[in-house]
């Protein structure tokens, strides 16, 4: 009973701004509120079958008192229940992770059968004029330009497998941008850290030349000097994008090696909306194992995949204007291991979407290819 009251209070509390401000819709320019509520069932089939449920709420709040200044807050609330919650000891601390300097994440309910986690993953102020933009606080510094794999994304590298968190965690950082033209800018960003080895501080110069967006990056990232290049352009009618980043440790340390990560990709969209995409990732620093279950948080741009070579092919097609089918396949040359990711998304009504996804790993532990892990997800998403 007490728990139920707590949950209701939590839901009211996080939606209170929405209830208050929805009455002021006449003046939407100063306050922007949006977000979503998702209900997702996960079925994991490995040696046994585990069923879990996640209620996932997001609230974004933006206050823009004038054209030069804004305050942004992004909050994420999740209610976990199910077999995995009970099966994994310390599940609540696994959920209550924080990559950033300040701890804005907490578990308001931590029981054997249910865990409720809340986190502010955006909390920043921004000042801007035509040429300058200064942003301080927890923010997403997204330097990726390619699809799927982004070795240039030094600040918030993420796992492709963690598909239910498209916003990605933020970084506690300060970022200064000077714009020079329609696609040209110089950006300097640094994360807040107690020592240099935990810090990411880098500059990015962007420009547009002959139909190509080009970016050059350089800086330090968690103990490495780093430099890289990224581009987005086209070959004929197909999109051609890539990113290469070089890392070298600035002092001798265990496990510190010079490494290169690079990705290139092509995508093409047919006139009937059939979309085809192929991408390749080279990772000289490959280590570890393919991990679908939550490896996402601690990933770095230096080690996006555990294998030296990764190939991804994806196709998607709207079989109906409201129904989109997709299938993605990852292969790892030299490893007899594959990842398959079919998906269906359905727009039920405006702002209500159903998604059914699957993540399957095919492996050959006994010499023959078999699926060692199957995960199924059914998700309802209501956007507001």
């Amino acid at each position: 009973m007490k728990l139920r009251v707590k949950l209701i209070l939590l839901i009211i509390a996080v939606n209170l701004p929405l209830l208050v401000f929805s009455q002021q819709l006449e003046e939407p320019s100063k306050w922007q509120i949006n977000g979503y509520l998702k209900e997702m069932v996960t079925i994991i089939k490995s040696d046994s079958v585990l069923v879990d449920n996640l209620i996932h709420h997001r609230l974004n709040l933006e206050w823009t008192p004038n054209e030069h200044f804004s305050v942004n807050l992004g909050m994420r609330n999740r209610i976990f229940t199910g077999d995995l919650v009970q099966a994994i000891p310390g599940y609540s601390s696994f959920v209550d992770t924080n990559n950033d300097y300040f701890d804005f994440s907490w578990n308001s309910v931590d029981r054997k059968k249910v865990v409720v986690n809340s986190v502010f993953d955006r909390a920043y102020i921004e000042w801007r004029n035509d040429e300058w933009e200064i942003r301080a606080g927890r923010q997403r510094v997204n330097w990726g330009t390619n699809v799927v794999w982004n070795p240039n994304d030094l600040f918030n590298a993420y796992s492709f497998f963690d598909f239910d968190y498209e916003e990605r965690p933020g970084s506690d950082a300060i970022r200064v941008t000077r714009y020079f033209g329609f696609a040209s800018s110089l950006e300097i960003a640094a994360t807040y850290a107690d020592n240099m080895d935990d810090m990411v501080a880098a500059a990015m110069w962007k420009f547009n030349k002959k139909g190509y967006d080009v970016q050059l990056i350089s800086g330090i990232a968690q103990g490495d000097f780093t430099a890289g290049i990224g581009w987005a352009g086209n070959v004929g009618l197909a999109g051609f994008k890539g990113e290469i980043t070089y890392f070298t440790p600035y002092e001798q340390r265990v496990g510190g090696e010079t490494s290169i990560a690079g990705s290139v990709g092509l995508d093409y969209s047919f006139s009937n909306s059939f979309y085809l995409m192929g991408s390749y990732l080279y990772n000289s620093n490959a280590f570890g194992q393919l991990n679908l279950l939550g490896g996402g948080n601690m990933l770095s741009a230096k080690n996006l995949m555990p294998y030296e070579h990764s190939i991804f092919l994806q196709g998607s097609y709207p079989i109906h204007p409201l129904v989109n089918l997709g299938v993605g396949t990852m292969a790892f040359p030299g490893e007899n291991s594959y990842f398959v990711n079919p998906s269906v998304s359905v727009s039920i009504v405006d702002n209500l979407d159903l998604g059914i996804f699957s993540q399957i790993i095919l492996d050959d532990p006994n010499g023959t290819l078999e699926s060692t892990l199957k995960m199924f997800f059914a998700r309802l998403k209501w956007s507001f």
Partner: protein, 246 residues
């Protein structure tokens, strides 16, 4: 001599007819677009059994530059599209990133509607990319109209084989457009109606695109607001403005 005279006369009259046709299209286009414009519109996708509505704000300068902001539904609110010449970008507010779109995406349907991206961001110019010819006179919705044939020029980035446009003789109103493929099959019909004063100009406020294959399908665009010849320059059409426009 007589033959040469006749030939030059025919050529000359063809040329004037083409010039007149081009001039009518230019005037009509100028009226609908201005040198620059801002607009607020809703797009309804109508199918048997369901409808979807998208809210759009747009900024345009000639045919080279345009910026489109999605204002509704909530799911897509804040998403923006920028076009400069042949380059196109998409701003995704949820991931804080702009994505360069492949040129092949131009011919794709716009958010599941009967319009292509090209229809919306106007990659091609109906004045520059076509040669025009008056085919005759006709009446559309009670308006006396010129029936004008538009054939795409050789290197124009146009998917159509032929376009027939019906423009009213009075006020240069575009009232009906028929789009044909290269084999002269009718693909889409666009009907304009609800003629009223918007932004100081008499223009059709409603556009309906009906695919020939599914006559019960349609996409309706309703202009709620428009301003013409607004003071925006090409610097406005930048990747940073995609995330700043409201």
């Amino acid at each position: 001599m007589k033959k040469i005279f006749l030939a030059s006369f025919i050529l000359f009259s063809f040329a004037t007819s083409a010039q007149d046709a081009t001039e009518i299209i230019r005037r009509m286009d100028q009226k609908m677009q201005g040198k620059s414009n801002t607009s607020e519109m809703t797009m309804q996708i109508v199918r048997p059994g369901w409808t979807r509505e998208v809210g759009i704000k747009g900024w345009a300068l000639g045919t080279e530059y345009s910026l489109i902001l999605i204002t509704a539904p909530s799911r897509d609110k804040g998403t923006a599209f920028l076009k400069r010449g042949t380059e196109m970008w998409n701003w995704q507010p949820s991931i804080d990133r702009s994505i360069k779109l492949p040129p092949s995406m131009m011919m794709q349907s716009w958010m599941g509607s009967d319009f292509t991206n090209d229809d919306l961001v106007k990659q091609s110019s109906i004045v520059e990319d076509y040669s025009h010819k008056i085919l005759g006179d006709t009446t559309v919705n009670g308006y006396a109209c010129h029936k004008i044939e538009m054939i795409p020029k050789e290197n124009a980035a146009v998917v159509w084989g032929k376009v027939l446009t019906y423009v009213s003789k009075k006020d240069d109103l575009q009232l009906l457009v028929k789009f044909y493929d290269e084999d002269e099959f009718l693909i889409n019909t666009m009907v304009m109606s609800d003629i009223k004063n918007i932004g100081g100009r008499l223009i059709p406020a409603k556009m309906e695109m009906i695919p020939a294959e599914n006559p019960e399908h349609r996409t309706i665009i309703i202009y709620k607001n428009m301003e013409f010849d607004v003071p925006i320059d090409k610097e406005f059409f930048s990747t940073q403005n995609m995330k700043r426009v409201r």
